[in-house]
C-alpha cells in the first residue's frame, strides 16, 4: 500500500517513535515491536543520509528497539521462586521505553499549549517604559543591587522589540512629500520654543531619512538667509544653532518662499 508520509521535523528518536505509533495506530501500552522497529529503521536509514547532529541518538534508540524486540522473542518462563507461589509482577521489556514515551508526550502536548498561549499573548501589545531624562549622578554611585547576565539579555530583547516599532513602514504608505519650507518653519518654531538656542543634533530626532534630509536642507537655507547662526565652542563639541535676535523677537512672517 502506498501511503503518503506526512513530513514533519522530528525532535529526536522519541518524537519519531510517537509519530509512528500515532500513524500506525498502535496502542502505546502494547507496542508491536516488530512493526515499529522496522518502520523506525526505515526512517532512520533515510535520515542518516542527512548527517544529522542527532544521528547517534537515533542509532542508540534503534539498538534499544532491537534489544527489546529480541527480548520479547524469548519465551517467558516464569520462575516461581516464592514459596507461597505468587509471581513477581511480570516484567515487560517495553516498560521503560513506554514510560519515556509517555513522559515526552506530556511535554510535547504542554509545549503545544504554551505555543497557543504565546500566540494569544502576541495579540496584546505594550509600550516600552517611557524614557524620562534625569540628571545623571555626578558622583560615583555604587549600585546596591546585584544583577545577572539575564538582565543584559532581557534589555537586548526589549531593544529589538523597540527597533521593530521604529521601523518605518516602507511600502504601504505613499511617501509624504516633505517640503523644505514647512521644515524651515518648524525649525524656527522649535528654536523659538527653546528660547532661541538648540543643540544641532536635537533637530534631527526623526527616524525617517526624508525628514532628516529636509531638516538639514532647511537649516542650510536658514543660514543662507541669516536667520540662524551655527556655532561651535570648541573642536569636537556639539554644534549649536541659534536664532538671530531679530527673528527671535519678531513674529514669524508666516511664509517662506
Amino acid at each position: 500500500m502506498a501511503y503518503e508520509i506526512k513530513v514533519e521535523a522530528f525532535e529526536g528518536p522519541l518524537d519519531l517513535l510517537l509519530h509512528l505509533i500515532n500513524r500506525l495506530e498502535i496502542d502505546i501500552y502494547d507496542i508491536k515491536m516488530t512493526e515499529i522497529t522496522s518502520q523506525y529503521m526505515e526512517h532512520v536509514r533515510a535520515m542518516q543520509v542527512l548527517e544529522l547532529n542527532e544521528a547517534s541518538e537515533y542509532l542508540v534508540m534503534a539498538a534499544t528497539l532491537l534489544s527489546i524486540k529480541s527480548k520479547m522473542l524469548l519465551p517467558t518462563m516464569p520462575i516461581d521462586l516464592d514459596i507461597d507461589g505468587s509471581y513477581e509482577e511480570e516484567f515487560d521489556p517495553r516498560d521503560e521505553l513506554v514510560n519515556r514515551l509517555l513522559e515526552y508526550k506530556r511535554y510535547k502536548e504542554a509545549a503545544a499549549e504554551l505555543k497557543t498561549k504565546e500566540h494569544q499573548q502576541s495579540h496584546h501589545f505594550s509600550k516600552l517604559p517611557s524614557l524620562i531624562e534625569i540628571e545623571p549622578a555626578d558622583k560615583e554611585l555604587v549600585l546596591d543591587q546585584q544583577y545577572e547576565v539575564y538582565d543584559l539579555l532581557g534589555a537586548f530583547q526589549k531593544m529589538l522589540k523597540r527597533k521593530m516599532l521604529q521601523k518605518p513602514l516602507s511600502t504601504r504608505i505613499s511617501k509624504a512629500e516633505i517640503s523644505i519650507k514647512d521644515q524651515m518653519q518648524q525649525v524656527v518654531t522649535r528654536l523659538k520654543r527653546a528660547k532661541g538656542k538648540l543643540a544641532f543634533e536635537t533637530l534631527f530626532d526623526s527616524s525617517e531619512k526624508a525628514v532628516v534630509v529636509a531638516t538639514f536642507l532647511s537649516v542650510l537655507e536658514l543660514m543662507k538667509r541669516q536667520m540662524i547662526q551655527v556655532t561651535q565652542s570648541q573642536n569636537f563639541t556639539d554644534l549649536e544653532i541659534e536664532l538671530t535676535e531679530e527673528v527671535l523677537e519678531n513674529e514669524l512672517e508666516s511664509e517662506f518662499d
Binding site: 525532535e11 504542554a110 504554551l114 504565546e118 505594550s126 516600552l128 517604559p129 532581557g154 530583547q157
Partner: protein, 199 residues
C-alpha cells in the same frame, strides 16, 4: 465603595510610564501612598472598567507579578498596520520543547532535559538563554556542579502568565495516574517552596 478618582488617575499615569516593565502591587502602594486594601479594590475596579468600556483601548493585566497595560486583543489588526507584523523569529519546535520542560521542572539541568527529549538540547537551550526566556538559576549538587536552568520574567510576559502557577496543567495519562500524582505533588511542593522563598 467610593472610588477615588484621583488615585485611579495617578495609577493610570504610573502604569502608562512603566509600559511593559509593569509595576508591582507593593510599589504601586508606595508611589501613591495608598494602603493595600484600597489599592486592591481600585485595581480590581480598574481591571473591570477598562475591559467593559468599549471606548477604552487598553486592558489592565497582571503579567509576571506586575500590573501593566496592554492593548485590547480586538485591536491587533490595526496595531499591526503600525508596527512590523513579523514577530521576532518564532521559536523552533526544539526550543519550545526545551522551554516547556524547563518551565515545568525547573530548576533542571541540561542533561535532564536531554533525557526527557531523548536528544541533545544544547543549541535550543542557547537560543532560549539568548532570547532571555531561560536563565541560570544555580548549580546542581554533586560532581560537575551542572548549571540549573529556570524561566525568566520575560518568559511570563511572552506567554501571558501572571506567575508560574498559571502554567496550564501538564496533560495526564490516565493509567499513569499514580505517577502523575506523585509528580504533581512534588511540583506543588516545589511551588510552595518557591512561594515561601519569594514571599
Amino acid at each position: 465603595m467610593n472610588w477615588n478618582q484621583n488615585l485611579i488617575s495617578q495609577l493610570e499615569s504610573l502604569l502608562f510610564i512603566a509600559g511593559d516593565k509593569g509595576i508591582s502591587f507593593s510599589k504601586l502602594c508606595h508611589y501613591t501612598q495608598t494602603d493595600g486594601e484600597t489599592m486592591k479594590a481600585h485595581l480590581e475596579y480598574m481591571q473591570h472598567l477598562y475591559k467593559e468600556d468599549a471606548s477604552r483601548g487598553l486592558e489592565l493585566v497582571v503579567l509576571a507579578n506586575t500590573y501593566q497595560f496592554v492593548t485590547k486583543r480586538a485591536h491587533a489588526e490595526v496595531i499591526q498596520r503600525m508596527i512590523e507584523t513579523t514577530q521576532l523569529t518564532a521559536l523552533s519546535q526544539a526550543a519550545l520543547e526545551v522551554l516547556t520542560i524547563i518551565a515545568y521542572k525547573q530548576p533542571i539541568t541540561r542533561v535532564e532535559v536531554d533525557d526527557i527529549r531523548g536528544v541533545k538540547s544544547d543549541s535550543a537551550l542557547q537560543t532560549l538563554v539568548a532570547r532571555a526566556l531561560v536563565k541560570e538559576v544555580g548549580r546542581a549538587e554533586g560532581t560537575g556542579r551542572a548549571i540549573l536552568y529556570g524561566t525568566t520574567t520575560e518568559f511570563m510576559q511572552v506567554f501571558g502568565l501572571e506567575d508560574l502557577t498559571e502554567l496550564p496543567p501538564l496533560p495526564d495519562e490516565e493509567s499513569e495516574e499514580e505517577e502523575t500524582d506523585l509528580f504533581m505533588t512534588k511540583f506543588q511542593e516545589q511551588f510552595d517552596l518557591e512561594t515561601v522563598e519569594k514571599g
